[in-house]
């Protein structure tokens, strides 16, 4: 039993060490940027997963939350000089409010209807942003988008000259969201979400206020997603409505989470990092060959991954993980492991 624990802890330490020393070895800004984007996508997929994966709701409109977070933080910064470090919480707060506003009517919709509602809300928000030049004293910029005011090297304003700080911030964000997901999965709400994902009626009969459980989980998810949006804005320094709110953003989160293994704690991280890395690699090698080639390959990879591993890559990793820990029987341990890493 203790040997298992030691192995688990050493594995975690190993990954943390790798995570923190990567910038020592990867010094080319381009490569570090690519790795940073992998972490960001892993973070966004994990944020989506907090509600949608855990509660089995297919939201195809989470770009709304990245957009709200990013726009609120950037508008506060551009027009009132409020540091994005503070603005990001205002943005996340706005996203939480919005998630409740959206969730209240939509959560009574069943699977397909909920998915369609989120598609419509997402598309509607893109149209709205594209046609809003200003909101009171704030410049929104409409379809041309919004450029983040440049401050040079200003850590207090979330702006750095080198890529390294961005990398570390993304890493810390990812660690936080994973810890949060782990906590959530094992909390009362986590059990409630697993239950209502399988059978809302049975969950309700066990005293669970299904709508409230969904609202709270969706609020957590919106909060983390919005912070990811702010990070994205500060990294790219430019907000383009379709890129931050549109279907690309919304669908990508879902692809990554599902390919990794939605509803598990680590699946979206695995999916986010591997799938995004793959997409960067094929873009690097095939991007110039023919227009659309790399996305074509990317789409095919997603298609085949979903076809052959609909439960996600995490399922394969789980097997190796168990073997590493020396767990072979279908006993107590397998399950306790499963709840933490997979399942």
């Amino acid at each position: 039993m203790d040997a298992v624990k030691t192995k688990k802890i050493s594995l975690i330490v190993l990954f943390l060490v790798i995570g923190f020393i990567i910038p020592q070895f990867v010094t080319k800004p381009y490569y570090l940027h690519v790795i940073t984007m992998c972490l960001l996508w892993a973070y966004l997929a994990s944020s989506w997963n907090l509600f949608c994966g855990f509660a089995g709701q297919l939201s195809l409109g989470h770009g709304v939350f990245t957009a709200v977070g990013a726009y609120v933080a950037v508008m506060l910064f551009n027009d009132y000089n409020i540091s994005p470090w503070i603005g990001m919480f205002a943005g996340a707060g706005a996203a939480v409010l919005l998630s409740i506003l959206i969730g209240y009517p939509t959560f009574k919709l069943r699977g397909a209807y909920y998915a369609l509602a989120t598609v419509a809300i997402g598309s509607g928000v893109v149209v709205l942003i594209e046609n809003t030049q200003a909101l009171g004293p704030f410049r929104v910029g409409g379809a041309e988008g919004l450029i983040v005011k440049l401050m040079g090297n200003a850590p207090a304003f979330f702006q750095f000259m080198s890529k390294q700080p961005y990398y570390y911030i993304a890493l810390v964000m990812l660690i936080i969201v994973v810890l949060f997901a782990f906590w959530l999965k094992n909390s009362r709400l986590g059990y409630y979400l697993s239950a209502l994902k399988e059978d809302p009626e049975a969950a309700e009969a066990l005293g669970i206020n299904v709508r409230n459980a969904k609202l709270v989980a969706a609020a957590y998810s919106a909060f983390f997603t919005a912070i990811g949006g702010v990070y994205y804005a500060m990294l790219i320094r430019y907000l383009e409505p379709n890129a931050i709110a549109g279907p690309m953003m919304s669908n990508e989160m879902v692809f990554l989470a599902v390919v990794g293994g939605s509803g598990t704690v680590l699946g979206p991280v695995v999916g986010g990092i591997t799938l995004h890395a793959i997409s960067e690699v094929i873009q690097f090698y095939f991007g110039d060959l023919a227009q659309g080639l790399h996305l074509f390959i990317y789409g095919l990879i997603v298609v085949f991954m979903i076809m052959f591993k609909p439960q996600g890559i995490i399922e394969i990793l789980q097997k190796y993980y168990n073997r590493f820990l020396g767990i072979t029987d279908r006993g107590e341990d397998e399950k306790s492991v499963k709840r933490t890493a997979g399942s």
Binding site: Y191, L206, I208, R330
Partner: protein, 245 residues
């Protein structure tokens, strides 16, 4: 009246012309085990759905513990102290037995350890310890029914509504399940159970209510009910069929 835990008055539900439950009056006293029987389609499950808040009654009230709980939502009803099982069992398939039961255990605590403790105790009570780490979807029907009871018990109800938990079990399994229900009742939880297996109902319940076409046609002790000619006419014919199946 003073010791009536559950009391329903003139409970009625109308599904577009079909009156599934019609002016039903009945009660369950504290500590008692009451049986609700009747032929297929008599409205038994509908009566459960009315009590547990799944349906809103067209007419009539439900009182629990002296409080009017008519029109509350299912989760509110559960929190008042009524646990229920479903005729078509609803396990959370990809969760383990323990996790399934812990979901119920969480209703009165936010602590994992406490919920686990409650769950372990309940699992012991329904004799599912041997399957504690199995996924619910891999259980046999008999174990699924036990799990169904365990989940409801974990919410620590004062009254347990059991919808055909014996249906589909073989005679040995029925015998075990009867023992289990009796012990639950003995531990102080009142029981209202729907059942087609009449001998088992008579072994557990001191009082039986008979429904036919949504209406109560008889009630009383098992002896009184089984000797009632109207009941024999409406119900027992069907029952022999049910037993033979």
């Amino acid at each position: 009246m003073s010791n009536a835990l559950l009391e329903v008055n003139e409970l009625t539900i109308n599904f577009g012309g079909l009156i599934a439950v019609n002016q039903l009056d009945m009660k369950v006293n504290t500590g008692e085990a009451v049986g609700l029987i009747g032929p297929n389609g008599a409205g038994k499950t509908s009566a459960f759905n009315l009590i547990s808040g799944v349906y809103k009654p067209t007419h009539g009230q439900v009182f629990f513990d002296g409080e009017n709980i008519t029109g509350l939502t299912p989760y509110q009803v559960n929190r008042k102290g009524i646990g229920r099982t479903f005729q078509v069992v609803k396990p959370f398939g990809s969760m383990t037995v323990l996790e399934n039961v812990m979901v119920g255990g969480f209703v009165h605590t936010s602590k994992r350890s406490k919920s686990r403790e409650i769950a372990m105790q309940v699992i012991e009570q329904v004799d599912l310890k041997r399957k504690i780490n199995s996924l619910a979807k891999n259980l046999t029907l008999s174990d699924r029914k036990r799990l169904e009871v365990a989940k409801a018990l974990a919410t620590q109800p004062k009254l347990l509504l059991l919808d055909e938990v014996l249906a589909g079990l073989n005679p040995t399994e029925i015998e075990e399940a009867v023992k289990m229900i009796k012990s639950i009742n003995k531990s102080g939880i009142s029981i209202l159970m729907i059942e087609h297996v009449l001998q088992a109902t008579m072994a557990i319940c001191s009082h039986i209510v008979v429904l036919d076409y949504g209406k109560k046609i008889a009630e009383g002790t098992p002896q009184e009910v089984t000797s009632n000619p109207e009941v024999i006419k409406a119900y027992l014919g069907d029952d022999y069929e049910a037993v033979n199946n």
